[in-house]
């Protein structure tokens, strides 16, 4: 008879087998047996957060920057409900998380016991799958399956709910067999015929564009390399979604900027006018497509995605290739190299006019803004931050709002996994805890949260976590005293009725930083900006940087939601065109 282990021991044996190094969590009554067991497993370090939402986002930051699944440990009831936002965020942005939650003992389930909630019921729609373990004999199998579900196919969060009596109960442990690169529910079954069709379309296109998304990042760093090779080989312009930034170098000439609601003029016009659209690992989100009926009306559309349910969900495509991004592009490159050696040159000729058109759009300089020498413009602050950090390997997280879009527009990413932002769910308060997780995964790298003052206050308590573990994260707050994106929409659509978007009382962020035991820096003058940013970078410890910026600045360019790509509103440099009026107004 094999040795018997308690449920709590089995949890850790599984985590060890899965090579988990960090758990982000918060203890409570229903997980105490697991916490009690922690001391016996030195290879696993627990990071104590200040709120379970913070644990979830930290695990997301960890997962996205390292490519490994993030592990979260919370208690029953409020512990579980607090983590729901982070699970939903991870579900929307396809981040692999394994959340372990305590539950009241099995005999009390359903009795409204203290700190009881229907955790699997609540988290069912925001996880890929979840389990309530009612028998300790199932525990090791469930744990290993949970990691498999979270990390294969399109990644996502899973949750395992373990009642307290199961944590005490004993069973034997079944080791898991590491399978070869799993693609369990991945459906990596694309055919060579599909690749041939793709190449045929590529070799005929006159106005092509490649549109990439987070799927490239999720496919692993190798996929970004393959993508680079592919795009250089075919010579097409490439644009990226918010989530895909970094997969292709942001400062490369073939990169035409981010697309979508706050994307560049050239990227959105290219999407509208193209005759071939190759979507690689993106999902035609409504912030990308604008008005569906007028989305890229003249193009043949190709969609490469690992998730079959992403295909034809919003936009009908002409060619769907279901599979892992890296595998699909690799086999496309192979085919091109083997069959059509001449493709490279003939392609360049055929699309040279198209490139000329794109250059014309580029001259609009749609990301331009009117700088000031009196006030710090938020775009200027991001640009300076980029210039002063681009020579080192920097990881950027963001909160949600105007600052997030400015960061996406003006910070250029050259490598994948360096950009962590809440895209699908748009969770304010994501960036600070995510930065904690990123710094845990990359202790020697520079990690900056480009934040807004409203967002960052939602999870500010995690500064205490950063101080406890001496994580030198830098919180770079673009402080405009408004919920800026709300204010911008109110200005453009609601007759400047700034209903509840102004924060009348804000903390003194420098004093707040000091109260947490970290460094506070304040800047409100463009002249001192560079110097103070350098001071922030050079400081060995967590910093809150309070950068006071022009409160009235708006984020441009912008496509009002109900409009197609070629009807963007440009910034103040281009004032006369395209005011939102009449019907368009109702559509944003």
């Amino acid at each position: 008879m094999s040795k018997l282990y308690t449920g709590a021991e089995i949890v850790f044996k599984c985590l060890e087998d899965q090579e988990v190094e960090y758990i982000f969590g918060y203890p409570g009554g229903a997980v105490l047996p697991i916490y009690d067991e922690l001391k016996n497993h030195s290879s696993i370090k627990h990071i104590l957060v200040r709120h379970e939402q913070g644990a979830g986002h930290a695990a997301e930051g960890y997962a996205r920057s390292s490519g490994k699944p993030g592990v979260v440990l919370v208690t029953s009831g409020p512990g579980a409900t607090n983590v729901v936002t982070a699970l939903t965020d991870a579900y929307m942005d396809s981040v692999p998380l394994v959340c372990i939650s305590g539950q009241v003992p099995t005999h009390l389930i359903g009795t409204d016991a203290f700190q009881e909630c229907d955790t699997t019921g609540i988290t069912r729609p925001c996880t890929k799958h979840n389990w309530l373990v009612k028998d300790v004999k199932d525990l090791s199998k469930v744990m290993h399956e949970a990691f498999k579900v979270a990390t294969t196919g399109r990644p996502g969060p899973v949750l395992i709910d373990i009642p307290k009596d199961i944590q005490f109960a004993k069973a034997s442990y079944t080791k898991f067999k590491k399978e070869k690169k799993l693609n369990g529910r991945a459906h990596n079954k694309f055919s060579q015929n599909e690749i041939d069709q793709l190449i045929d379309l590529i070799s005929k296109a006159k106005k092509p564009v490649v549109y990439t998304g987070g799927g490239v990042i999720n496919s692993g760093p190798q996929a970004s390399e393959t993508l680079k090779e592919f795009v250089r080989l075919i010579g097409f312009p490439i644009t990226s979604t918010l989530q895909g930034l970094g997969a292709f170098p942001g400062d490369d000439n073939q990169f035409i900027g981010m697309l979508g609601m706050h994307g560049t003029y050239e990227a959105n016009n290219a999407m509208h006018d193209c005759d071939l659209l190759i979507n690689i690992g993106a999902r035609f989100d409504d912030r990308i497509t604008g008005k569906i009926d007028e989305f890229s009306p003249k193009s043949k559309k190709v969609h490469i995605d690992i998730d079959p349910s992403s295909i034809n969900k919003i936009i009908k495509v002409d060619l769907a290739i279901v599979g892992d991004v890296n595998e699909v592009i690799k086999s496309a490159i192979k085919k091109i190299n083997k069959k059509q050696n001449g493709l490279k040159d003939s392609n360049k000729q055929r699309i040279s006019k198209w490139w000329e058109q794109i250059q014309k759009w580029r001259t609009k300089n749609s990301l331009g803004f009117i700088n000031s020498n009196k006030e710090i413009k938020p775009q200027h602050a991001v640009k300076r931050l980029y210039e002063l950090t681009k020579n080192q390997d920097t990881f950027i997280t963001t909160e949600v709002g105007q600052h997030q879009m400015w960061a996406a527009q003006h910070y250029k990413f050259n490598k994948p996994n360096r950009w962590m932002t809440s895209g699908g769910l748009g969770t304010m308060g994501y960036g600070l805890p995510a930065a904690v997780g990123v710094q845990i995964a990359h202790p020697d790298k520079l990690v900056i949260d480009i934040a807004g003052e409203a967002s960052v206050l939602m999870t500010m308590q995690e500064m205490s976590t950063a101080v406890q573990y001496n994580l030198p994260i830098k919180i770079f707050i673009l402080n405009n005293q408004y919920m800026g994106m709300v204010r911008q929409w109110q200005e453009l659509l609601h007759e400047k009725n700034y209903s509840e978007s102004y924060s009348e009382a804000l903390p003194d962020f420098v004093k707040l930083a000091e109260a947490y035991g970290c460094k506070g820096i304040k800047a409100d003058n463009p002249d001192e900006l560079d110097f103070k940013i350098k001071e922030m970078i050079d400081y060995n410890g967590p910093v809150i940087f309070d950068c006071h910026v022009d409160p009235n600045e708006n984020c441009f360019p912008m496509i009002p939601s109900g409009k197609p790509h070629n009807q963007m509103i440009l910034g103040p440099n281009d004032k006369e065109e395209n005011k939102i009026t009449g019907k368009g107004k109702s559509l944003v």
């Binding site: 699997t120 019921g121 069912r124 729609p125 890929k128 799958h129 309530l132 579900v149 529910r185 409504d286 604008g290 008005k291 569906i292 009926d293 998730d307 079959p308 349910s309 295909i311 034809n312 969900k313 009908k316 929409w489 659509l493 609601h494 939601s561 109900g562 107004k585 109702s586 559509l587 944003v588």
Partner: protein, 182 residues
């Protein structure tokens, strides 16, 4: 009509709605029905009827039959989303007009009336394999099996004759001929 200052675009084209029958083979475990049904309610799909029971006790498999309506694009999505659920083994999708598939629903009809009317009801049910499950001097319980719309029609027809309650199973489906769905 969506609110005029919506943050999202307004739907424009409305596609033609088709009725489809989905047959879903799932692990018979706790919460599995909630996952399937939650998928429908969460994504705003319709359920016209739902029938579910375990069909293989050794392999622990249940068979869920769902009748739904949607545009071809939505029907496609339902199928793909169902396939993503972990306890789902396979998903079959049939158009209601499909001649190669048998759709049947069972109904129990209770009629409370005088003898004459009861006799009339039994006669009306003739076409649908009626089985008299219970009979008293004032009432009868008849079991019929038929298509959904036939049962709809019958319950309308029998109302004036004293039909007081109807219980229906929801449609179940099976392909004709020797082949089975893989």
């Amino acid at each position: 009509m969506p609110s005029p200052k919506s943050a999202y675009s307004i739907p424009t084209k409305k596609g033609k709605l088709d009725t489809h029958i989905f047959v879903v083979w799932v692990d018979n475990e706790s919460g599995v029905l909630a996952r399937v049904v939650g998928l429908f309610s969460g994504r705003g799909y319709n359920i016209e009827s739902l029938a579910v029971a375990e069909v293989d006790a050794t392999k622990n498999i249940s068979r869920i039959t769902i009748v739904t309506t949607g545009t071809p694009q939505v029907i496609d999505q339902i199928k793909l989303q169902l396939k993503k659920l972990v306890p789902v083994h396979k998903v079959a999708d049939f158009k209601r007009e499909d001649k190669n598939v048998i759709f049947k629903e069972m109904a129990l009809l209770k009629i409370v009336a005088q003898k004459k009317k009861i006799e009339k009801c039994i006669k009306e049910c003739k076409k649908f394999n009626p089985v008299i499950l219970d009979k008293t001097s004032k009432s009868v319980v008849i079991q019929i099996t038929a298509l959904r719309r036939e049962i709809d029609k019958m319950s309308k027809k029998l109302k004036p004759f004293g039909l007081t309650s109807t219980s229906r199973t929801g449609a179940i489906a099976m392909t004709r001929g020797a082949q089975t769905f893989k």
